[in-house]
Point group: C2
Chain length 338, copies 2
DNA sequence: TTTGTTAATGGAAGCGTTTTCATTTTTCAA
DNA sequence: TTGAAAAATGAAAACGCTTCCATTAACAAA
C-alpha cells in the first residue's frame, strides 16, 4: 500500500529510470531486467501516481466533454457510453463539463485548459455564434465538434463529426410530398443550435425544390421539452388552414406532437402524418410506430473521440467526417387522397 | 501564456511560498503583499497548474461517477446535471466511469483510486451482491451510494442517499387496492439492482397487508428497454386470468405497457389501470396522463454529492439520507366496478 | 587489437506546486 | 522599553514521476 517508483527500483535493484521505462514500455530494456521490475511491481502492488506521471510528462491524458450543449437529453447517455468506450481504450479519462449557460461553460473550459487538467475537448453540439469554438481555435487547443461549424472562417479549419442533417430532412419532406402532402408543419428546436437550423433548412429546401411555398404559420419552435413541442403542435393545428403532415426535428418533439394531435381528436396517420428524427427507442413504441430518421449516435461518439485523441497525439485526422443516417419508414404517414 | 508561480513571485517580488499562500487564501498575509501578488497573477494571466497542485497537496479534487450502473437512462443526464452543479461549487472535477460489466467497472474504479486520480466515488445505484461496495469499504475510500446497501454488515456503515422505494410502491398499490383492484400486475426491472427489488417488495408487501395473495404469473421482469417492458406486459395480459391493473416500477416501462395494452385493444384506464414510477416528463404526456411517483432526482444528486465532498474533506455527514417522494395521481387509474 | 555502434542502464535535473521549518518583522501588554 | 507572542515571509525539501544526458557493456567491422 502506497509504494512508489523508488520502492520498486530498490526491490528490483535497478534505477528509477529503468522502472519508468518498464512502466512506459520503452524500448531497449533487457528482458531479464524487465521481468525483475515487473515482479517487483507486482509484489508491491505498485500503481504509478497518475498526477506525478502527468506532471512529469506534461499530459494528464484526459478529455473534457461539454455536455450541457446537447439540448437533447436522450442523446447524452448514449453518446457518453461510446465516448467512454474509446477513451478507455486510449487510456484517457473523461471529465465532464456540465456548465449551464455560455459564460460559465466557456469559463470552465478555459480554466480546465489553463490548469492543464484536460488535453482535448469534445463539444456535443455546435451553436450558430459559437464563442467557445472561436476561443478554442485561437488557443490552438485540440477539440472536436459534433455538428457543423458555421462560422465561415472556421468551418474548414475546425475538426468535426456530423451527419448530413440538411439532406436527411429533405428526404423526409420529399417522402411526405411524394405521398401527396403539400401543407407540412415543422416543429423544430431552438435555432441557436446549428443542428436545429440545418434541419429546418432541410425542410425549407425540400419545399423549394418541390415548388411548394413554405407557410411559416406552420413552423414552430418546439423548445427542448415534450411539453413545449406539444404546445407548438397545438398552435400549428389550430391555424386557419392546418397541415396534413408534421415533421418534428426530433422524436421527443414528435411525442409531444402525438399528444396534441390525439387531443384534438385527430388520428395518426389518418388525419395527420408525422415524422420524427433520431430513431430513439420510443419511436418504435408509439402508436402507430413513428417514421423517423436513424442517427448513428454511438458511432458518432466513437468517431469523434478517436479523432480527438488523434489530434491530441499529433496526428492529422480528416477535418470533417460525415456519417450516414437512415430514413426509417414505419406507420405514421399515409398517402393523401386526391 | 505559460507563466508559472515562479514568474509571479519574481514580478511581485516575493517568494513562491507567498504566492502559493495567496493562491490558497492562507491566513496571515499582508494585504499589500496580497494585492501585489494578485496584480502579478492578473498581469501574467497566471493559472496554477492543477496537476502540480495536486501532486503537492496530495489531492486532485475530483470525484468519480460510476454511471453505467444506472439501468435507467432517463435518470443519468438529470442527475449528472445536479452532481455537476455541486461539484463545481466545491471546485471538484467530475470523472466519468462508464465501464460496462462489473469486472471492468471495479477494475477502472480501483485503477482511478490507486493512481490517485479521484478522491471519492459516487455510485449511481446499488446492487444486491455489490462487490464494488465491499471493496471500497475495505479500502476505506470515500464513497456514496445512491440507493440502499443490502449487505447486512455494511448497510449501516456505508454512506448513502435514497428514497423509500418500499413504502412509495406500497402507496401506489394501496391506491389501486382502494380503487377495488385485486389482480394487479407488476413489471419490474432486473432484480440484481436493489432499487428494483425494493420496488417489487413494496408491491408484495402491500398485497400482504391488504390480504391479497400475490399471483406471480402477473409479475414479470421488464428488463431495461421499452421493448422488453412491452413484451413483459403482453405476457401478463395474456395470462388466463389477466390483471385489472399494472404497476410498472419505472415510467419507461409504463410506456412499454401502454403499447402492449393498446395493442390488445384494451383501454387505459377503462380496462386496465396503470401506474408508473419516477415521474419523467413523458408521464405527463401519455394518453391518458400517467399516475406515477415523483422522485426528486436532482435533489438526490445534490445531496449525494455534498455528502461525498464532506466525507472527502474529513467531515462526518449522516450515514443515510432518505428523500421524500410524492405520489402523483393523474388519469391512468380508475375505480373498479363491484 | 582498435574503433565505431548500439543496447542497456543510471544519475540527476526537471515538472510546478505545497508545506514545513526557520527567520524576520510587527504588535502589544507589562 | 522590553520581551513574548503573533504575523509575515522566505528557503528548501518534499510530491512521484519523466526524460535528458552520460556511462558502461557488448559486439561487429576494420
Amino acid at each position: 500500500m502506497g509504494s512508489n517508483i523508488k520502492d520498486v527500483a530498490k526491490l528490483a535493484n535497478v534505477s528509477i529510470s529503468t522502472v519508468s521505462r518498464v512502466i512506459n514500455n520503452a524500448p531497449n530494456i533487457n528482458p531479464e531486467t524487465k521481468k525483475r521490475v515487473q515482479d517487483a511491481i507486482e509484489k508491491l502492488n505498485f500503481k504509478p501516481n497518475r498526477l506525478a506521471q502527468s506532471l512529469g510528462s506534461g499530459s494528464f491524458r484526459s478529455i473534457g466533454i461539454v455536455s450541457a450543449r446537447s439540448s437533447n437529453q436522450g442523446f447524452v447517455p448514449l453518446i457518453l457510453q461510446s465516448i467512454s468506450e474509446v477513451a478507455d481504450e486510449g487510456n484517457y479519462e473523461i471529465i465532464l463539463n456540465n456548465s449551464v449557460g455560455e459564460k460559465k461553460e466557456i469559463e470552465k473550459c478555459l480554466s480546465m485548459i489553463d490548469s492543464k487538467v484536460i488535453q482535448g475537448l469534445l463539444l456535443l453540439s455546435s451553436r450558430i455564434n459559437d464563442n467557445l469554438i472561436e476561443k478554442l481555435y485561437e488557443l490552438d487547443f485540440p477539440f472536436v465538434v459534433l455538428g457543423k461549424v458555421v462560422n465561415e472562417f472556421l468551418s474548414d479549419k475546425v475538426f468535426s463529426v456530423d451527419t448530413d442533417n440538411l439532406s436527411d430532412c429533405e428526404e423526409a419532406i420529399n417522402y411526405l410530398v411524394s405521398l401527396g402532402h403539400k401543407r407540412i408543419g415543422c416543429i423544430h428546436a431552438p435555432l441557436n443550435y446549428v443542428v436545429s437550423k440545418e434541419r429546418l433548412e432541410g425542410y425549407i429546401e425540400a419545399h423549394k425544390k418541390a415548388g411548394i411555398p413554405v407557410d411559416y404559420s406552420l413552423v414552430e419552435n418546439g423548445g427542448y421539452s415534450i411539453n413545449e413541442a406539444y404546445e407548438a403542435t397545438l398552435k400549428i393545428l389550430k391555424t386557419e388552414n392546418p397541415p396534413t403532415a408534421i415533421f418534428a426535428t426530433d422524436d421527443i418533439k414528435a411525442i409531444g406532437a402525438y399528444k396534441a394531435i390525439l387531443e384534438l381528436g385527430l388520428r395518426i396517420p389518418e388525419n395527420i402524418s408525422l415524422i420524427g428524427h433520431n430513431n430513439y427507442d420510443i419511436s418504435q413504441i408509439t402508436v402507430p410506430p413513428l417514421t423517423t430518421i436513424d442517427v448513428p449516435i454511438l458511432e458518432l461518439g466513437r468517431v469523434a473521440t478517436r479523432k480527438l485523441i488523434d489530434i491530441i497525439e499529433g496526428k492529422r485526422p480528416p477535418i470533417r467526417t460525415i456519417l450516414d443516417t437512415r430514413f426509417i419508414i414505419r406507420e405514421s404517414c399515409r398517402k393523401l387522397n386526391a
